[in-house]
């Protein structure tokens, strides 16, 4: 088996994993009984998007997409922190 064909097969398997994980994350967004479960699913969604950006950078041979991945790696954390803060504050108002 040649080198390019092997790498092409590896990329195709990686694409399959990414699409299966996005489907599973949306299913758990629908299923999750509470808000916290959905926040965990959204947190994981950002990491799947990051891996998909890496896949696209390799597939299209564009190393410039790494800057976008760097910015997303920093800002996904902010969304998670704000959701956690919201859950805490809502609990304080209730009690």
């Amino acid at each position: 088996m040649s080198e390019a064909l092997f790498f092409e097969i590896c990329l195709k398997i990686f694409m399959g994993f990414m699409s299966a994980s996005i489907i599973l994350i949306f299913l758990s967004l629908i299923k999750g009984p509470n808000l916290e479960d959905r926040v965990v699913a959204i947190d994981l969604f950002s990491s799947v998007v990051l891996s998909s950006i890496a896949l696209y950078a390799i597939y299209g041979n564009h190393p410039h997409y790494l800057s976008a991945a760097m910015v997303l790696a920093l800002f996904a954390f902010l969304g998670t922190g704000i959701f956690a803060r919201f859950i805490e504050k809502e609990n304080e108002v209730k009690s």
Binding site: E3, A4, F6, F7, I9, C10, L11, I13, F14, F17, M18, A20, S21, I22, L24, I25, L27, S28, K31, N34, E36, D37, V39, V40, A41, D43, L44, S47, V48, L50, S51, A54, L55, A57, I58, P63, L66, S67, A69, M70, A73, L74, A76, F77, T80, G81, F83, A84, R85, I87, E88, E90, N91
Partner: protein, 104 residues
């Protein structure tokens, strides 16, 4: 670098991210969900971005990949800890086989 080395590392990272998504779908509890989503996805993303650095094989992409991995090490545990603490304060239900809870 040889593509025979980059491909398996990439597939292994994708498998770990997929296992994290499967765990978030299957786990019964918020805390176990936090566990699987933080650990497996961190290792998976580290493998994916090291494969990226090996594929392009230049200083520019190598430095950016290392920076992204360092950001993961800073942000992922902090974010997961925030969610777990907030859900414990909001009184999330524990799974029935939970043995003890140190925060009570």
């Amino acid at each position: 670098m040889s593509l025979f080395l980059v491909g398996p590392v990439l597939v292994l990272g994708g498998l770990l991210v997929f296992l994290a998504a499967l765990g978030v779908y299957r786990m019964p509890d918020v805390y176990t969900k936090c566990h699987t989503s933080s650990k497996a996805s961190t290792l998976g993303k580290i493998l994916v971005f090291s494969a990226l650095g090996m594929y392009f094989f230049s200083w520019d992409t190598a430095i950016k990949s290392v920076l992204i991995v360092i950001f993961f090490f800073f942000t992922v545990p902090v974010g997961t800890h925030l969610i777990a603490r907030a859900s414990h304060k909001a009184g999330a239900t524990k799974y029935k086989t939970t043995l003890f809870d140190d925060m009570e």
